[in-house]
Symmetry: C2
Subunit: 323 residues, 2 copies
Amino acid sequence: MSLSDQVLAGDRRALARLITQLENDAPSAREALAALWPHTGRAHVVGVTGAPGTGKSTLVNEIAKCLRAASPPARTVGIIAVDPTSPFSGGAILGDRIRMRDLAGDSGVFIRSMATRGSLGGLARATSDAVQALDAGGFDAILIETVGAGQSEVEIARTAHTVIVVVAPGMGDEVQAIKAGILEIADIFVVNKSDQAGAEATVRALRAMLELGGRKQTAGSEAVWETPICQTTASEGKGIGDVVEAMDRHHAHLRASGELRMRERERVVNELQILLRDTLLARLMDGLGNGQFEAAVDRVMARESDPRSEVEGLVRAAREEGG
Amino acid sequence: MSLSDQVLAGDRRALARLITQLENDAPSAREALAALWPHTGRAHVVGVTGAPGTGKSTLVNEIAKCLRAASPPARTVGIIAVDPTSPFSGGAILGDRIRMRDLAGDSGVFIRSMATRGSLGGLARATSDAVQALDAGGFDAILIETVGAGQSEVEIARTAHTVIVVVAPGMGDEVQAIKAGILEIADIFVVNKSDQAGAEATVRALRAMLELGGRKQTAGSEAVWETPICQTTASEGKGIGDVVEAMDRHHAHLRASGELRMRERERVVNELQILLRDTLLARLMDGLGNGQFEAAVDRVMARESDPRSEVEGLVRAAREEGG
């Protein structure tokens, strides 16, 4: 039985193995993912982002519990905990794993931690691959948890259908960061730790901002999405139902407005372009003669020529070698 | 007189225009940058990163002033203020610009703000382009200031020779974030706001971490770099001399150990690969027949085939069209 068939049959260990192999960019894993593609497109992919200390992990935990408990029917949940602040370690996020221990015994929940790979865009790639694998594995909801950190939010917004931005009361920098551009990617705001002082002020600040630019209308559609603000105290399990309700409402909105299709299309275009780029570069490098690339690097280093001219030379050389 | 000649002649407005055109990916600007390449490789490129609220901007400001005042000889300074937390606005960072106003009258200082472009890796590209332009423009030191944010730190580490990580006392999350992987990219630590409570504890925590892994030895060299910890109160201009001294010492170390050459080589390899990838993708798209790419996207969307198979088909199709 192939790895992709095992994943389709619901084998969790095969799924974990596939994701590890994808992280290591194993060719057999890429083939397995290609075979799984026709079985994707069912899951609701939700990104959860926010600064450190806002209680994201606890919130994700509670959302997962709520989705499991909802009846009828209980939904299966995949969780991908992404740590872009750990660029070199490549290891798992111990704290998150400990916090999520109470979910780990449930076979309807699959938890995976990921840290940034060295390469540019490596984490986005790995996350997108893992989402596809979980989607094919039959999970109803996939929660991607990531530290709010600029570039990674852009990437999460590319991969997720629904983006939840978590803030905590009284974080001055937080509201600043939100002003700086988070508004465009947030589909739902959650003010967590709502039992703390300043929660109402944070909600008011968010509401004022949203009045300026929180309505999103899909091109060619009447449907308008008004970004909701939910208040939670995740550590006590309070307010989680509202968040899940908002998630479901947003998913329905995306479907009804045609935006789900638009987002999926963008994702596929992006995916094809990245794959094309990597494939073309790999073929060019294979097609070059021994040491040709290194010689080009040497000439650029010595300032005898510039990167642009060398790139044109390399493309020409590869074409001539190739036939 | 061409734009590149104007930049070489020290024309600041031409330099600003070139950077804007590079941000917009104008073909003429790419040609100008290629013409400037032989004149690059002189500047000391220093990345300054840290969480919001650590006082990075003030520190960068003071380092610039110190470099300007040093005698003999005063050094010219280019400052690139990068804001990866502003993924969509594309505007300048007003706060930083106001704070840096006292430098703006000095013709030996050039200040430029950059926000994240939508595209993956777009900011890294724009920053690297701007560094090359400033380098060719004859600036002795180039300071890249960026919010500490995972992926963007990896990118800054790729572009800069020396990376300064700024922390402020009593930021619990800060020390956590450092543990997560910042150690590998920091060449110098600065504990700013050292007049505040907890500064000594922060220094001690950093020192304990560095004892575990703060010595960096260059392969094939005897030279060892022991990551220093500087204490500053940038708002009062205190301790800045130590930071500049550490910067200079690190630059000398990179030269003596041969690591400067290694880092430059890595940068050139990376640059050539990115350029190759973009060039190859653009040529393939040009070579495809009308609507071929869109048809591939449609088939993937409909789950009739998978991205990998379509990419292989597109590469084949482009080759056949091409001859």
